[in-house]
């Protein structure tokens, strides 16, 4: 399994993702420039990762300009073929803007950027995972129809919880609807999440819960 990480101008977690995948998870990583288009070295067993950051400054709407990059056209085609795609933070925003995932990410409820450790969980996990967030626009929103579909198809891959795994409004750092921290498409090939697993894979940082997140995506 190979990994391609797309670098947009303004991406700033691309290197962190590369470090995590290459050094902590021992994966082969290829960096992809947004102006290029070639994904021929990847098969549908491989992963394309859209990293965090502020692609194109996050001006207008987060991810709105990046979505039109030449490389994104290839990524969309790759995903439509069944290739696996993960978007983290800004990458999640790009996936929503490009229509690969439903819904959108709105400015945080308190209108402030927030960076801290949060806890996320899903039913397959025995306990909540501690993963950092860092975003100004992380409030997931979709209409009820979409949300009910996401729930019915088990597409909500992470929700914000307290440290004991309880769904709790006070544990929701940005006002995301139904405490949603991450979702996937119906085919379970395209994943998006606001928290940053790549910031929790190194022993010296005192948190390895990110490795668990990558495991859930079948990445290790």
């Amino acid at each position: 399994m190979k990994f391609g990480i797309v670098v947009f101008p303004g991406s700033n977690c691309d290197r962190d993702m590369q470090d995590a995948l290459q050094n902590d998870l021992n994966k082969e990583v290829i960096m992809l420039w947004h102006k290029d288009e070639d994904l021929s070295m990847f098969t549908t067993d491989d992963y394309i990762v859209l990293p965090g950051g502020f692609s194109f400054g996050d001006y207008l709407r987060c991810g709105a300009i990046a979505r039109f990059s030449p490389m994104m056209q290839s990524v969309i085609a790759f995903a439509n073929k069944g290739g696996k795609v993960l978007g983290v933070c800004n990458g999640f925003q790009v996936l929503c803007e490009s229509g690969l995932l439903p819904g959108t990410l709105l400015p945080n409820g308190n209108q402030q950027f927030v960076c801290k450790n949060v806890y996320i969980k899903n039913d397959s996990l025995p306990k909540a995972l501690k993963i950092p967030i860092a975003h100004g626009d992380g409030r997931y929103y979709a209409d009820d129809k979409v949300l009910n579909e996401l729930e019915a198809n088990n597409q909500i891959i992470f929700r914000y919880t307290d440290e004991f795994g309880n769904l709790d409004l006070s544990a929701n750092p940005n006002g995301a609807i139904r405490n949603i921290a991450g979702i996937c498409n119906k085919e379970r090939t395209v994943f998006g999440m606001m928290p940053h697993p790549e910031r929790a894979t190194t022993p010296n940082l005192g948190n390895l819960d990110g490795v668990e997140v990558f495991r859930l995506f079948g990445m290790n």
């Binding site: 194109f56 400054g57 001006y59 207008l60 709105a64 300009i65 039109f68 990059s69």
Partner: protein
């Protein structure tokens, strides 16, 4: 009566607008290349209870000065809808 007031808040003419600049780059990348400048501001609507249009406009003006616009960075225009 209630007056509908629309307020346009824009970055000062001579100030750099990084957002506008980046959006213009995005438009160029999409092949829409004849746009010479993009500047991005805010559109605010207010409903004001006042005795007259002039009074409503004065209230809107006060609101702009005190909060809605930052005079160091932005200018504003007030438009009375009714």
């Amino acid at each position: 009566m209630t007056y509908n007031v629309q307020i346009k808040v824009m970055p000062l003419k001579d100030l750099l607008d990084p957002q506008g600049k980046a959006v213009m780059g995005g438009l160029k990348n999409l092949g829409i290349s004849t746009i010479e400048d993009v500047r991005i501001g805010k559109h605010i609507t207010l409903q004001i209870e006042a005795d007259s249009a002039d009074a409503a406009k004065a209230i809107a003006d006060d609101a702009c000065k005190k909060l809605l616009a930052n005079p160091v960075m932005e200018f504003y225009e007030i438009e009375m809808i009714n």
